[in-house]
Amino acid sequence: MAAPPIPSFATDQSRARESSRQRGVQSIGDRLYGGWITASALVIPALLLLVAVVIAISAWPAVQSLGWRLLTDTTWDVPHARFGLLPALLGTLASSVLALTLATPLAFGAAIFVSELAPPRLRRPVALLIDGLAAIPSVVYGLWALVVLVPWLRRDVMPFVRDTLALGNVPLFAGPAYGPSLLAAALVLTIMILPFIAAVAREVLQAVPRSQREAALALGATRWEMIRDAVLPNARAGLVGAMILGLGRALGETMAVTMVIGNAHLLPTSLFQPAYTIASLLANQFAEASGPLHVSALMAAAGVLLAVTIVVNGFARWLVRRTEQQR
């Protein structure tokens, strides 16, 4: 056999260069297709960048003229051009953290129920119902909370805590019992992030290998010991991720909160007092913002919300992905 000359091709390390070598013989269809999927994929980073840049530019005048006072001032007074975000920022954090605290044990319980303990016949229906809860639009939660939850708080819960339990002097429960309050916002947020945390937690739990559970059962563990010693430790990072994803949701939730939090620029010191969140501040004021500085200050508020949620979500996704890759 006559030795043919040996063409050296595809010796370069990068696939990108390898595929560009082939481009000469690629059909038009392949090129169009490659262009379409690559361009679509690039839209996502481009969009994020654009969101950040657009908001940063619009917020710049306010940042320039107000500086750190944007974050430290407790007064929001449009006519006097005082735009302090501190009450709204703290209100956002307080309502979200409160909701997370209430929702986590319940959501984890539901996740454990569906993935470990429920009788087989109940698993699918319960999972479907929880998914259904997640599909209810925010504005419907808001409507329900406004018409049902808030009056119940005002009529029954608040007087009970204040008078029957005689806790009226505790600062946490101070203030008149209006109904619309930090507590109402936290409760509706709790209900809203419950199904979300439960769904992510369920996936994380189901990713724990069967062999781990069987090993525990084979050692004579009870059902609960199996969950505690074999399932939960393996799922820990993912469960924390689920919590933080829920927190991200709560931070950016707008409509339901706007409808029940009372929208008052007060530092969130009492559960019974109205408060504000950044998202509801935007929802209420953006459409009728007066003057460029007001708009710019609201843009700065959006920027703060954006930064907080990106950090929180990025961290959570990283955690969830880490557990899923352990498999």
Binding site: P4, P7, F9, R15, V25
Partner: protein, 281 residues
């Protein structure tokens, strides 16, 4: 040989006699396949190392070897399927009738159209009828085809793989309704419909029952003369039954290639002997 070789690793004399009927007398339009110093890798892992192999036109060449020895990778380099994997690299040459399929001006799509390929597990296209599956390759090559010509091709090809009588009345059904063996023969029909002159079979019977296996082997036998066949198998009897030439690979390297009977009766390399007598693999 001090040890009696395992009986199962030996081809029966009757089969060998059939394969050896004057192979040199074949005159054929089928191409010669020359693999020259081929090295293929996935990232850091080298799957095929400097393999050179010549497959005579119109003959059946079998590649045997333990799993992971690189035989499938070698096969997938011939129709340039290897490079569709991320991080995959190839160097060396594959000459089909003197033309390098890796030459710079060669379109891999064009090459693949001329080479039939059947993989280990049946891969009928879901969401396509049995009929459309058979002519899928034809349609890809030529956009507009006469409906009658297509129908004739469907029948001819399905008869060739012995599937016509079983599916003639449900050509519009989903291939999912077929058994595994039928699906694999459908895939063979799909590969044969464009009349390739080179057919690559990657353990085509690995997931089939004995009866379906026999059918596929008979088909491969009838293709001799018209089509050059390269078949990867880990079933030694199968290699002995269907092939004219057998190549043995180990750890990515080609250990030896010889007439099938010669390789199975008097292997030149000790490692080949160890493998065919069942000492490993």
């Amino acid at each position: 040989m001090s040890r009696e070789p395992a009986v199962t690793a030996r081809p029966t004399p009757a089969v060998l006699a059939r394969v050896d009927v004057a192979p040199d007398a074949i005159h054929t339009a089928a191409p010669t396949l020359r693999i020259h110093q081929l090295t293929a890798s996935y990232g850091e892992r080298v799957a095929v190392r400097d393999v050179s192999l010549e497959c005579a036109p119109g003959r059946v060449t079998a590649i045997i070897g333990p799993s992971g020895c690189g035989k499938s990778s070698l096969l997938r380099c011939v129709n340039r399927l290897h490079e569709s994997v991320v991080d995959a690299r190839v160097s060396g040459a594959v000459h089909l009738d003197g033309r390098d399929v890796y030459a710079h001006d060669v379109d891999p799509v064009e090459i693949r159209r001329r080479i039939g390929f059947v993989s280990q597990r049946p891969t009928p296209f879901p969401m396509m009828s049995i009929r459309d599956n058979v002519v899928a390759g034809l349609r890809a090559a030529t956009p507009r085809l006469d409906a009658r010509a297509l129908d004739a091709c469907v029948e001819r090809t399905l008869r060739r793989v012995g599937l016509w009588d079983e599916v003639a009345r449900r050509l519009d059904d989903d291939p999912a309704s077929l058994s595994g063996g039928q699906q694999q023969r459908l895939c063979l029909a799909r590969a044969l419909a464009p009349e390739p002159r080179l057919l690559l079979l990657d353990e085509p019977t690995a997931s089939l029952d004995p009866l379906s296996t026999q059918r596929v082997e008979e088909l491969v036998y009838t293709l001799r003369g018209d089509v050059t066949v390269l078949i990867v198998t880990h079933n030694l009897q199968q290699a002995a039954r269907v092939s004219d030439t057998t190549a043995f690979m180990l750890d990515g390297e080609l250990i030896e290639a010889a007439r099938t009977r010669a390789l199975f009766t008097t292997p030149a390399d000790a490692r080949t002997e160890a493998y065919i007598t069942g000492r490993f693999g």
